[in-house]
Structures are given as C-alpha cells and as structure tokens.
Symmetry: C2
Subunit: 292 residues, 2 copies
Amino acid sequence: MQLLDGKIISAMIKDELKIEIEKRIAAGQKVPHLAAVLVGNNPASETYVFSKVKSCEEVGMDSTLIRLPDSATEAEVLSTVEKLNNDTAIDGFIVQLPLPAQISEKKVLKAINPDKDVDGFHEVNIGRLALGLPGFVPATPMGIIEMLKRANVETAGKHCVVLGRSHIVGMPISLLLMQNTNPGNCTVTICHSRTAGLETILQSADIIVAAIGKPRFVKANMVKQGAVVIDVGINRIADPSRKSGHRIVGDVDFDEVAPKCSFITPVPGGVGLMTIASLMLNTLKAVQINKY
Amino acid sequence: MQLLDGKIISAMIKDELKIEIEKRIAAGQKVPHLAAVLVGNNPASETYVFSKVKSCEEVGMDSTLIRLPDSATEAEVLSTVEKLNNDTAIDGFIVQLPLPAQISEKKVLKAINPDKDVDGFHEVNIGRLALGLPGFVPATPMGIIEMLKRANVETAGKHCVVLGRSHIVGMPISLLLMQNTNPGNCTVTICHSRTAGLETILQSADIIVAAIGKPRFVKANMVKQGAVVIDVGINRIADPSRKSGHRIVGDVDFDEVAPKCSFITPVPGGVGLMTIASLMLNTLKAVQINKY
C-alpha cells in the first residue's frame, strides 16, 4: 500500500510555484495576484479563506482579502465582482461559498469573468472542462488529477467508480477521468443517492473516488484488492479522547480499507491539501492567460 | 418488447409544436425563426439542412438557409455568425458541421450567441447542461430524453451504460441521465475505445445507449433480458439486394437484440428522427428566451 500524501505533493507544487514566481519576477513579469471575497463571518469560511491567502504569500503571490458584512446585499457583492473583473491588478479571484441567504450564489458565480474564475465554478469553465478545452478546473478534481499524475497511477482502461455527483467534485472528476487524456481514459461509473447495488459496483472498481460526505462509508468488503482509493470526504465526528472533542475522518474507513489498496489518500493530509495548491496553480494560469 | 418509435414520437412533437405556434400567431407573438448556415456542398450536410428547413415549414416556423461557398474564409463564416447573433428576426441558428478544413469549427461554435445556439454545442450550453441549469441541450441527447419521457421508461436507480464519449451524444447524455431529474437518476457508466471488459459491463446494464458508430456492434449475448436499448448509430453498410446498394443499420444488432428488450429504438426510424424534432423544440425555446 502506497500513501498518496497530500502534504508531500502539495509541498512539491508550492515549491515549483515559488520557483516559477521567482522566475517571473526576475523576468520583470507580473506577480500573480489572487483576490478572495468573504461575505460574513462563517468560521469555516474564514479558516479556508485565511489559509488561501497565507498560501499565496508562501509561494510569493500577491493576495487581497475583501470582506463584506453578513448583511451585504446581492447588489454589493455583484458590484465587488464587477470591480474585480475590471481590475487589471487582479489576475484571478474567488467568492467564498456559502453566501448569506439573501444573495444568489448562481447569480454571483455567473457574474465572474470566466478568465478570472480560478475556482472554475462558472458555467463557461464547466463547459470547457466537459469539452476538454483549456479553462479553469475546480480545485478538488484538479487536485485529484495532480495526485494521480505525480504518483504515476495508471488510469487508462481502468474502471473508476465515483461516489457522488456534486458540481464541485463528483461531476467534474467523472468528466476529467473519462476523457482521452493522461490521467484519464477510465471507464467511469457515477454513483449517487439513487444508485442500486452500490456494494457490487464498488467491488468492481479499480479506482474509487469517494465524495459523498458520509463518515467512513466505504468499508473493506466493498473494495477490491489492489484498488486505488481517493477519499474526498472531510467529516467531523465526535471523539471524546481529543481535547477538541472531535476529529476529521473521510468517506472511507481508512484503517480497514488501506491494507487492500495499491494507493490511498489519507484524511486529513490527502485531497484536502491539494485543493489550495490547485487554486494557486489556477492563479498562475490566470496571470498567463490574462497577460496584464 | 416495445418499440420506441421515432416516427410516432417525433410526429407527436411536431403536432404539439404546430398547435403551439398557431397559439403564438393567434396571440400576436413572434413566429419562431430558425436560420441554418451551410458552407460548401457536402451531400450529407445538404440532406440534413434541407430536412431541418422543411421541418420548420411543416410546424409553421420561419426558416432561412444561408449558403456559403466551399471556398468561404473563416472570417466570412464568423461575420455571418455575427450578423445572425445581432439579427432580431432570427431566434436561433445552427452552423451545419463539418466545416471545410480552412475554417476552425471551435472558433465558429464559440462565436455563436449561446442564447441562439439551438444546436447546444457552445461551451456555455454544455456547461449549463452539466450544471443542470436552463440552456439548450444538443438535439440527439435531448431526443433520447424525450423518447424515454414519453414512453414512461423508468430510469431512476437503473444502471445505464453509455457506449461512446462524444461531445454531441455520449458525454451529454451521460450528464443528463445521472442528474436528479426524471428521466434521470441513473447510475451511469461511460464506456469508450479504451474500456476493458465491455461485454461484462453491458451485461449489467438496465439501459444501454449505443453511440459508437460501429454497425451492429451490440449483440444479444451482451444484453440483459428486459433491458432498454437506445441505438444512436447511423451506419451505412453494403446491401446488394437494395437498388441503392446499401442500407442503414444502427450500432445494435436489432434482429438479435430486440427479443430480449423491454424497449428498443429501431434504426432507421428511431433516435435519428428525434434530433430534428429536438431542434424545433429548441427553436421554440429560443423565441421564448429571447423575447424579440
């Protein structure tokens, strides 16, 4: 069993980015600049956004955090988006989700210039992804692809079972893995809450991508010997032995499943760490596309 | 075995469209107007475009055929697209593919206003489809969905195996059938040229969508008793017994497979006839969206 270690792989990516950005500076090129819009005070959102901003600094990118109050109107958020669309100092930006109830996420996401949409959630970027055209790939599926690529995991002709059909993980990773690319060329089965006979389907998988948000759902008896298991779940469960009273587990029962795997991602320390690295990669891509 | 008869279903749709358009006329609303751009003299393309124009007339829609010579430049085609984008008389239009080699299909498709893109090939419409947002669905997958809906085929929780990952059939029908809609909620497996163990996968399918362009590829031994089989193939094979010297067959060996099916589409007379009906439905939708 080989661990697909998000710490190691994301650190490698950050090191590469650092060098790339130093090169840009030496060549007199623009330093990539990421902006993040945070509306309200959701503690989880704050944590995510702060770590994105911190990661920018680590690799030498510029970053701007724009905070709006929880009471912000849709018009205010849309006007912030419009300013960022037109601000040539900003190469890419994200609007941290979820947004307060009075603001339509759909409208806000649609208002972002697709060429600055480093989260890759805009319909144009999802369309480009589906068609295999250049664009921004959402961070989590992009992180999974990077992990598979860097660990030289063979994917062509393999049966990949994706658990979950969400717009930010299950659907896009299915599209990426079915395409005639490397990693890719998988036979992909997309499973979800309405799937019948899930156990049998999982047992036939060479690669499992679990993204359903159910703590330790995937058990050893569902996994084929030698399978590659990618665990996207980040679930908080009670743990009285910890000072915090909880701990984070994935959608896969790691202790049970790991011994059967050829490769497996841990939680924490797996795919989660790749998402920020992917956002940084997308920000570098943005400065290259937009050529300000 | 029940035949999913494209002749009957497409005739029903055309009748409904006729009534809808008469209602629009009675209410003083705009008559939907489809334009088709045909570059060159490819005989198959001519046949397709002519039948699209003829179908418009049948249902009472307006149509315009714009022909450009085989020698047309990319700039000429792009300028035609731009005119149609801005022409408020035209609700939707298509550029018949393939285009002559000197013209980039990607560039031309991208230039079409997504809200007039009744073929649904634009990256924005594919993105909307993937995200379950309102938009234009390409004609063939849309025709398949219409057939399943009108025949009340149960799809939820069923295992659907899609043969082929093309941008105009395999990929979009996979996305449509996996979504939380009706028809939809299938567990979808997407197979293609790199798939290993295809026979076994097909044998587990409750629904098969065959779109690989291989004459009579799907045989009885690959199909489960009671399966629903949708045959998208349109393959010309030699047939000395015919005056023309050829005939059209699907990707499914109909004679062998049909007795095992609960539902099956014939070729010809199946999905093929649904594509034009779908284009008409999209054109009606276009006039409703654009509200000229």
